[in-house]
Structures are given as C-alpha cells and as structure tokens.
Symmetry: C2
Subunit: 117 residues, 2 copies
Amino acid sequence: MYERKVIPNLNCGLDLIGEVLYGKWKIRLLWFINEGHKRPSELQRKIPDASRRVLNMQLKELEEHELVTRKIYPVVPPKVEYSLTEFGKTVIPVIAALGQWGDEHGDRLRNVILKQL
Amino acid sequence: MYERKVIPNLNCGLDLIGEVLYGKWKIRLLWFINEGHKRPSELQRKIPDASRRVLNMQLKELEEHELVTRKIYPVVPPKVEYSLTEFGKTVIPVIAALGQWGDEHGDRLRNVILKQL
DNA sequence: TCATATAGGGATAAATTAGTCCCCTATTGT
DNA sequence: ACAATAGGGGACTAATTTATCCCTATATGA
C-alpha cells in the first residue's frame, strides 16, 4: 500500500471532512449505499466509470473511517453487503446539500466548467 | 498548463460541485475571501501550508468558474483584491455545512483518521 | 546598497490518486 | 468443457495535483 509522505492537517472541521470524503467516488458510494444499493457488484453497476479496484479501495477507507460497515455472508459465491453506520448517516444531509447546490446551478456550472475545458 | 486527458462527468449536481470545489485549498480560499481577506498575500498568510504557486493557480480556477472576481489596482507595488461573486456567495452555506459537520464530529474524526495513519 | 514586500508565472520534480491487467475461489448455467 | 458471476487483491502504469526553485518588476525602509 501507498504510504503518505505528507502528514495532513487536522486543525479544523474542513480539514477533517476533507480527509474522509476526498476520493473520486466516495461521496457517490455513500449516497448509493444510503439508497439501499449494498452489494459491491450493485455499486459497480451504479458507477460504471469507476474501476472495480478503486471502488474497493475507497470502500475500505470508508470502512476504516467508520462511515460504513461491511458484512460478509459465508456463502459461495461470496456475498458482501455494505451499510451506513449511524455515524455515516449523519453525513448524508451534508452530501445532499452539496448535490442540491450543484443541481440548482447546473446550467451555469456546466457552462463555466466546459469553457475552461 | 496541464491538459486533462480524461473528460470529467458532468451528469449530476455532485459531479458539478466537485469540479469547482476540488483542489486542496479552494474551499479555504473561498472561506477566507468571504471573511474579508481579499489580497493574495493575506490569503497566503492565512494558509501558510499552501505554496504560493498553488494558491495562485487555484484562485485562477475559482475566477474562471466565476466564484470570485479579481480586481487589479494599477499601482506599484501591485495590489490585487479578490471578492466573491454573487454566485460565489451562494456556495458559502454549503461550505459552512461541511465545516460544521467536521467540527461536530471532530474528536471521532481525528481518531479514525489517525488510526488509519 | 541590500533586504523586504507585492503579484505572478515557467520549468521541473515529487506526491498522490486512479486505472489497467492478471490471478484466485467456487457455483451455476449452456 | 467453458463462460459468467461473486468478491478481492498484487504489481504496475498513467493521470493528476501539489510543491520547489528561480526570475520578472518597482518602491520603501534600514
């Protein structure tokens, strides 16, 4: 695994939430798990642009940060289900606020983003 | 300048807000500009861990995304002031929500982040 | 005269994140 | 026998982001 060479700042709330939500697919993973898509293969189908590998890594980090739990059913073929922890559920309204702002300003945002490339 | 090789998704609100807020220091820049710290040198002092270069680059992107404006005073030594646009002001409550969640769960977050390294 | 402050950017290196490719296990369907 | 599905991870490469170093210009204060 990769070992950080720069220790992150953990001074304020923004630093902290950044540490747990940064990652290309983490917010979406939390969102879809909250919607009830629990199995890894389901999540991969919901987020087809993400590579399987990276989704697994980000799910693992979400688990280490105690936002989700991973339940393994000892069956074959294997079955795994992710769920939000109580802690994880508290971050959903924040993600909703992010998405809502993006949606409200969708046209303008698409415009300025595409202009800049 | 660096040219993207992977075209970003711009499907949902989360994609869009991600495009404009991603960047190690962007959220803090918006926050401090909102607090009235307008000049580049002020911002650099508020965020000493960031390199000058990167702050300039991220400010430029915020400007291209129309979240801030840059006013140049034709004096010597040069003087520049950044301000939030009306559009930029609308994102402040969202940033506040992020920071508040981080602050509310500060101890727990520091704990799980440090545990994982 | 030399250091400092102000604002900015090119060239390049380092750090970090994400992606591809391949391999393993065991079951079910064709 | 072979492909597909389910979940996971090592080795490695590519993409992206951030940092370092150095150079520009002018004015003021020590």
